[in-house]
Homo-oligomer: 278 residues x 2
């Protein structure tokens, strides 16, 4: 495995709207486009009160591509009414993705600390299979995002790429694949081999980047900019791309620290960090 | 797999001195013994300024058994002088364990965010192999403790039981095995199968318990008392015991919250939680 070459342009750079959370969706579209960013992943909170298909048009008329809609999931619950609500919410996300023109929904699968992980994992699979007909009818793919094990209690009972791959094999639909986020998976000794397997299965749908800071001061809202931490992002991009993946590197950073600074300045930092460290 | 029966007595209960951090080693020995606790794992910080072999005698004369000495490890560093210092420190720990009469040292293996995980993993193996002759000569075993992936940047590059098992196979010494801590490993979908494998390899040297709180408010110092969180402790004990393991369940809780309360009261809570939830 040779290290992939440094990136020279922005044609494969996508930014998640949550990364520049202080901006409205309109501001994010305009600023990303002005800066030459080519992809955008839209978080659903930004669509509140908007005509979703108009937002889709605005994205495209600015020369941007919608990479995915974030996020569906949160299927498991020890309460069956909650599970039913979650299915409704995922169906709504599929409708939104179709209206927006997003080809993919990222699934943060969910977990419930009041029931065994095995039960949550079963409910995740059941939940995905339940909404699959709607996803297929809408032409929207679903990406299981394995989350860091520190979120296994409440955010996702799918915590390794091996598990996500296994679940894709079980569900066995061309509409279901994986979103690989370096933040969640960088520590995994099986990451290289499972990335290869994910590619061979045709399941590598998305690639998310940021960095792991030492020390990490908040379990949710202290992600680092690429290069600021210890994740070997370029090496992992190499593993991803050698499967044939030619999609975007999506910058997804939750950070109280960065949300507090001037977002135009932050966008410049993101672009620089992308070129230097992805 | 049937769930193991509820524990009726304290004959397999061990407490780590760090759990009752406000107590000196002398207080811990006296209080544990009075309460009927049978095992003690001694943290090295408590031995500061003490005659270590006298402490060992005091433990035994109180009817307690020393289960292990915590901790060795922290082998990796991008600085070779630091690696050399770490080896010295591990040799000192072996000397202390022998003087104390501790049959086992728990290894928090270490990591360095300034070098690749693969390099840290190699340095861990090299480090263990370097001190192995001294461990063997002293009659002290070494237990690799895989740590939660949220510590992969600085505390341990060994983050799954599979990895720890693999490393034991590579090192291939009867003096090197594994400490299985539910806090670090509960989320792992391969935990049951790797626990079985660990037992078959004859490598299951120690079993640590506490709980994972939802939410966890501090990445290091907010562990829960057994039953306070979402870890299926009894089920995991079942997996551990069905390998033939008949050692102690060691209560190891780092908690600012519990360190602030009356430690006699806390000890009562520990014993109750042990009986009810381990």
């Amino acid at each position: 495995m040779t290290m992939p070459r440094q990136i020279q342009d922005l044609s494969r750079l996508c930014i998640h709207t949550i990364t520049t959370k202080p901006w409205s969706i309109e501001e994010a579209i305009d600023r990303y486009a002005e800066a030459g960013v080519k992809g955008i992943t839209v978080w659903r909170d930004t669509l509140e009160g908007r005509d979703v298909s108009e937002i889709g048009d605005r994205v495209r008329s600015n020369g941007l591509e919608i990479v995915s809609l974030c996020r569906g999931g949160f299927f498991p619950s020890s309460d069956s009414q909650e599970r039913s609500k979650a299915l409704d919410d995922n169906r709504e996300a599929i409708t939104e993705a179709q209206a927006l023109g997003a080809p993919l929904i990222v699934l943060v699968c969910g977990a419930d600390p009041h029931q065994p992980l095995s039960e949550s994992r079963k409910q995740i699979r059941d939940g995905i299979e339940s909404v699959l007909p709607e996803a297929e009818a809408a032409g929207v793919k679903l990406a299981i995002e394995p989350l860091h094990p520190m979120y296994a209690d409440t955010r996702s009972a799918v915590n390794t790429l091996q598990q996500a791959n296994d679940m894709c094999v079980q569900i066995d639909s061309p509409w279901v694949g994986v979103a690989l986020d370096v933040y969640h998976l960088w520590w995994d000794p099986n990451l290289e081999s499972e990335t290869k397997r994910c590619g061979e299965l045709g399941k590598l749908f998305a690639f998310h980047v940021c960095d792991w800071k030492s020390p990490t001061e908040d379990m949710l809202l202290d992600r680092g900019l690429m290069g600021e931490g210890c994740i070997p992002i370029r090496e992992i991009r190499g593993w991803v791309e050698s499967t044939g993946f030619s999609g975007y590197s999506e910058v997804e950073i939750f950070s109280n620290r960065y949300w507090e600074i001037d977002q135009d300045h932050f966008l410049k930092q993101i672009i620089e960090a992308y070129k230097r460290n992805v």
